[in-house]
Symmetry: C2
Subunit: 303 residues, 2 copies
DNA sequence: CTCTTGTGATCGCGATTTGTCATCGTTTGC
DNA sequence: GCAAACGATGACAAATCGCGATCACAAGAG
């Protein structure tokens, strides 16, 4: 069993056919077929089931691929760790950050990070835990900071709560509701929700219920920040968003905060990463910067 | 970077010299030197510092080796997982078990395990957490069941408490103290300790202090069960041991329990394993047998 | 001091692995 | 029925990896 076997099998599994994988890897199809046959002979069983339009994984192939991803990522990180130890800061740091972290923390850490590691490529994904979970597990994403899903994460992942989330209400500048001062005043408005953690029930509904109010009408569910901005600027809908939105320069002119008296709690913001597989020096440094920035800007200000 | 590079570097690091490693691996020294030179050229830096009597790891080499151990173990387990999925239950399960688990649980799981996996080799280590920690981290030991160290484990390991430990007092058959019925009666005796979890202070001392008694005299500290049996059978010393010793057939004739009225608590018995790196089917099955046996024999009986 | 012993580095050579190119048989969709 | 996409196979070239022999060097023994 060689590393190339893992690379090859993962590539074929992702592309769905040996030919497609061979084009992607830049080698001949025949070489790939032969290596694959060698591996299957060594294991004594088929990795792929040959079909007319390509190949699909056998149960044994599934096991091989999921282990293979982890192994390959570990090898890649080992190389990056060593390159970074040598001073030449190459490599990639891949992280998942929620919108709130994008807005309040990311702007202040980019500059110091590139002073220290000018050559490292930052791969930032705007996303929430459920979409990133599998990439976190196989090691292709170094860590994630954002709302924790349901307090329950995979066994091989470690979770660390960083701070308690807080929410506020945003609307378009010029929305007549801007004068409202309590949640009750907003009960008749139409809402845009960007809660992803809850799948079945809506987070806005839960908050209204907590304050003894009827569940309001949610007209739009948005996934990304861009969707939210676009919809919010062009309607009189309201959005309940992480408090960190108020620090976002670009929307200062377009959007306004409705300062209601209730204190709106949101899911805790947590750090999730693989329990094993130590981070590369660059990823460690980036995480450290994020931590300090959170400490300074959020923990000190809020509560 | 290939798997053979990791194997080679780990072997050289363990043996301390390239020649010794080449003998161990059964390949020529020249081949090893060349592969090593290739790897170092690829990484751009030295893995080993050449000395007159062998080689020693550079800091970069340390990083390479510690990652390499994890990667190699993961590859090995992938192979075993697949072989076990195919039915032919080959491979090895390596576990660390404390003495109490050896005595009370192990005898009842060996037979059912070999019915299911007749070809699997069981590698059982009698030991305590501190000695096994590094092997658990790099994946060479599948899991450990025994007293938890101080409630604090490495981040890449997961811990799960299985049951509350209980202790009792043993002595040689014929020891006049056998009639004692309270801890106070035993205060003047001399003791054999086999607590490993505590390094600085002795566990026996803590228990006596809990009951408001002076710390007794500990004459022998033993690491293994054999030491304990030997010393206990040939002296009039006493030993405070896990309750599970009373189930041990071999020492029924030689050793006796002093039935004192106090309830002696001991550290919890926990399961520790790597958080990631799922166990092979055989290891999962073995762990399952242990769990059920603990459930039946210990949780149901005690407390 | 010299001699022995253990070490890593280097060279030439053969075996093995791994790649390429061309070709074949099969299945699917038009 | 035919073109397109797929995997399997054989012949051959290139790269890799093994071996043995040999060298240079340092440490310890006498």
């Amino acid at each position: 069993m060689k590393l190339s076997h893992f690379q090859l099998v993962v590539a074929v599994a992702e592309r769905g056919s040996i030919r497609a994988a061979s084009r992607h890897l830049g080698i001949a199809q025949s070489a790939l077929t032969r290596s694959l046959a060698d591996l299957e002979r060594e294991l004594g069983d088929a990795i792929f089931e040959r079909r007319a339009r390509g190949v699909i994984l056998t149960p044994i192939g599934e096991a091989f691929v999921s282990n293979g991803r982890v192994i390959l990522n570990h090898v890649r990180r080992t190389g990056e760790e060593i390159r970074q130890m040598r001073g030449l800061g190459t490599g990639t740091v891949t992280v998942g950050l929620s919108i709130a972290i994008h807005l309040a923390v990311l702007p202040h850490v980019l500059r110091p990070f590139y002073v220290r590691y000018p050559e490292v490529r930052l791969n930032i994904i705007e996303g929430f835990y459920p979409t990133l979970a599998s990439s976190l597990r196989d090691g292709s994403v170094d860590f994630y900071i954002g709302p924790e899903s349901q307090g329950k994460v995979s066994p091989e992942l470690s979770r660390e709560v960083l701070f308690q989330g807080r929410r506020t209400v945003l609307c378009r500048q010029g929305n007549p509701m801007i004068a409202a001062r309590s949640l009750r005043d907003l009960a008749d408005a139409r809402w845009i929700s960007n809660s992803i953690t809850m799948t079945a029930e809506d987070e806005i509904g839960l908050i209204f219920r907590d304050f003894g109010l009827p569940v309001p009408k949610v007209s739009i569910r948005s996934q990304s920040a861009l969707t939210l901005i676009t919809c919010l600027s062009n309607t009189d809908f309201l959005a309940m968003v992480p408090m960190q939105w108020t620090e976002f320069e670009l929307t200062r002119k377009t959007l306004a905060e409705i300062k209601i008296k209730e204190k709106l709690l949101a899911p805790s913001i947590a750090l999730v990463k693989r329990a094993d597989m130590p981070l590369t020096p660059a990823a460690t440094y980036f995480l450290d910067l994020l931590r300090r920035s959170i400490e300074r800007r959020i923990l000190r200000g809020a509560n």
